[in-house]
């Protein structure tokens, strides 16, 4: 199936299933309900075959170009059926498994993620480890055919819903830095795991603290090489900055379109509007080229930090425009529209923080793309 066929077929299918797939918004829609809706969308698109396109057959996919994955998320976001922040985690977690898990494990687990039967989370950050990922401390000690994990993760998105966790642990000596890190695939119902949701600024329990108290993780759940977890994290980050950003870009254009259609006369300054639309188009152009590079099988690398900076800047500009155009809705609005603008405006403040902060992206650009040396 080529992209054109996929697009035509999917569009028709989405038209047909619109009522079931459309997401609800408003102050009464809980995060639990959002997550349930996401699972439903994934299950329906998987069962109809759309979600399986662009993923390898050995993990339950139907093969074909990754552009189909890009288009599926774009179509769902443009039609307001998903919120890409939670939808697109698949684009980071599934490739990790495909590349680094034992083939049987990947074959068993990935379909569950794609179909929405399971939610997974990514346990990288810790209380004393944010940008400096190489300093993480959550300890894994080998004991026969299990790892015994003790320590803490934080800001772990969706951990309260998650069945599995892609977890970075310290397996080398404390001072081993990026060399002594191992990635594990843990079951979240393992004895010794405690999850405490954290209320985020935008009013959702977006992420959690996760405590590990002598948790046993089978050794065959190791992802990649022992002490080779850093390579996994570094390999994955470019993926975090490709297809999922494309999805988010589509979502932003959809929201910008809604603002443009609904803002009261005189609320939008033409110059401000024009600039934000131009930013959104420039991001779209950049990210489109990245999707095509990925589809051709090119290895994505530090150049995706440019996509990330462009997207984060655009996202904040879009919602700054919203906050300027409909300030009362954002500040006070109690209806579904106001509540949604407020939630999104607040969430957009994190765009320069998660997935590698704006400063870390600029560091990568300076070192890897401008070849300015390591800054010492």
């Amino acid at each position: 199936m080529d992209l054109q066929e996929f697009r035509t077929g999917l569009d028709a299918w989405l038209d047909e299933h619109e009522p079931e797939l459309r997401a609800d918004f408003g102050p009464d829609v809980t995060f639990d309900a959002e997550i349930r809706h996401l699972s439903k969308v994934k299950r329906m698109t998987f069962d109809a075959g759309w979600m399986r396109r662009g993923w390898p057959e050995r993990v339950g996919g139907l093969g074909g170009s990754t552009l189909m994955r890009a288009y599926l998320g774009e179509a769902l976001a443009s039609r307001d059926m998903i919120e890409p922040g939670i939808y697109s985690m698949t684009e980071v977690l599934a490739p990790t498994m495909i590349e680094f898990a034992r083939p049987e494990l990947a074959a068993q687990m990935v379909p569950r993620l794609l179909r929405g039967d399971e939610t997974w989370c990514q346990g990288f950050s810790e209380p004393s480890t944010g940008s400096n990922l190489g300093s993480l401390a959550c300890r894994a000690r080998r004991d026969g055919d299990v790892w015994r994990v003790s320590g803490q993760k934080v800001w772990t998105s969706l951990a309260q819903y998650a069945h599995r966790c892609v977890l970075l642990t310290r397996t080398g000596p404390p001072e081993s830095g990026s060399r002594g890190i191992t990635a594990l695939f843990a079951d979240m119902d393992s004895p010794g795991i405690t999850v405490r949701p954290i209320r985020a600024m935008h009013g959702r329990d977006e992420f959690c603290e996760v405590f590990f108290d002598d948790v046993r993780v089978p050794a065959d759940r190791t992802l990649g090489e022992v002490d080779g977890g850093w390579a996994i994290a570094m390999d994955l980050l470019p993926y975090e900055r490709s297809t999922s950003l494309w999805h988010r870009g589509a979502y932003l254009r959809q929201r910008l379109g809604h603002l443009l259609a609904s803002a009261p006369d005189g609320a939008l300054d033409p110059a401000e509007l024009g600039e934000v639309v131009q930013m959104a188009f420039a991001f779209h152009a950049r990210s489109r080229a990245t999707q095509h590079r990925m589809a051709r099988g090119e290895r994505l690398g530090p150049e995706t930090s440019i996509d990330k900076v462009l997207l984060a800047t655009t996202e904040q500009a879009v919602f700054d425009l919203v906050a300027g155009a409909v300030p009362a809705a954002v500040a006070l609005g109690g209806d579904a529209d106001g509540d949604r603008w407020r939630t999104e405006f607040l969430y957009s403040r994190a765009a320069t923080i998660y997935g590698g902060s704006a400063e870390i992206q600029r560091d990568i650009i300076a070192r890897r793309l401008l070849d300015l040396g390591d800054g010492r």
Binding site: L3, R7, L67, A70, Y71, E74, R253, L256, G257, L260, A261, L268, D269, P270, A271, E272, L273, G274, E275, V277, Q278, M279, A280, F281, A282, F283, H284, A285, R286, R288, A289, Q291, H292, E303, I306, V309, L310, E359, Q361, R362, D363, I365, A366, R367, L369, L370, D371, L372, G373, G375, R376
Partner: protein, 325 residues
């Protein structure tokens, strides 16, 4: 579509053509490269190749004249200049009143040596036509301004006897504007890339406090910001040429505005990194800064294009579709 090898060869010869700073030499070299023939044969695909290099080299030529003249369906040639709209704007520079032509506009680098000039003029009934006039009748006066090396000339004349001229549809003018804006976007991007290269070279060689200034994060982040701006602008400009080889007027306008803003951002950061030496006329930076300030004003500056995009959108109340995957 041009194959990669042809494109690479053309790019190489264009790069050589821009080595000599003299406009006459550049024009002769472009003649030799066969740039107008390439434009006829390949269409918009050659625009990025030429203009990015012209910008990167801080060179000036009549290539924009050729592009606009041939976009309007008239024969382009080294003796034919095109009169640009007034600085910052994009309204047709000419107006025909009771048989006479009034022109307020700008001539480019070619104007001084041209025999004739094409003036896009509005007829009393609002229709557009492309009028060819003797270059000397235009009384073009060199403007020094911020970038004398670009060779711009101010044109302000009335009552030039005007033969009928070729009728031009609004769509044809929009298409010509789109091609010109795309060209200028690439020229701005080329100039921005050179500014960034100059600042980067300075950052790795200039030592203060015992290390290259490129080790300081404030400097690194400024330069990173420049690269983000340049790559965003380049992506926008690349996307303005569709799969069918046509230039989208909407996307070319966006590309030019983004490239104009990008160039300001790059100039600001690079100037700061270059500091004292970048403030001299002995360092090349100033030439590029002067150039981008001027190029931004041709065929609609970033500010004007941005506002007018916003006004169009507010009339339609719909976001135009972006190019599909």
């Amino acid at each position: 579509m041009m194959d990669a090898e042809t494109a690479a060869l053309l790019a190489q010869s264009l790069e050589r053509a821009f080595r000599d700073p003299d406009v006459k030499e550049v024009e002769a070299a472009l003649d030799e490269v066969g740039w107008r023939e390439a434009l006829d044969a390949e269409g918009a695909a050659v625009v990025p190749l030429l203009f990015a290099r012209q910008g990167a080299a801080n060179a000036a030529s009549g290539a924009l004249d050729d592009l606009l003249v041939s976009s309007l369906g008239l024969p382009a040639g080294p003796g034919t200049a095109f009169v640009l709209p007034e600085f910052g704007t994009f309204a047709p520079p000419g107006s025909v009143r009771s048989g006479g032509l009034a022109v307020r506009g700008l001539g480019g680098a070619r104007t001084a040596a041209a025999d004739r000039a094409v003036v896009l003029a509005e007829q009393p009934d609002g229709a557009l036509s492309a009028v060819v006039v003797d270059a000397e009748k235009l009384d073009a006066r060199p403007v020094g301004g911020v970038d004398p090396r670009l060779g711009l000339a101010a044109i302000e004349v009335r009552d030039v006897p005007a033969p009928g001229g070729a009728p031009i549809t609004r769509a044809a003018w929009d298409a010509a504007l789109a091609a010109g804006r795309l060209a200028l976007a690439h020229e701005l991007i080329g100039a921005s890339r050179t500014m960034l290269r100059l600042a980067r070279e300075h950052a790795v060689t200039r030592v203060q406090f015992g290390k290259p200034i490129g080790a300081f994060q404030a400097v690194r982040h400024r330069l990173a910001e420049c690269l983000v701006a340049v790559e965003g602008a380049e992506a926008a400009a690349t996307a303005a040429i569709g799969a069918d080889g046509e230039v989208s007027p909407l996307l070319a306008g966006i590309a030019k505005a983004v490239a104009g803003r990008c160039a300001r951002t790059v100039a600001r950061h690079c100037q700061q990194v270059l500091a004292g030496v970048g403030f001299t006329e002995e360092h090349d930076f100033h030439r590029y800064f002067r150039r981008v300030l001027t190029l931004d004003g041709l065929l609609g500056d970033a500010r004007t294009l941005t506002r007018s995009l916003g006004e169009d959108l507010l009339r339609e109340r719909r976001l135009p579709a972006a190019p599909p995957l």
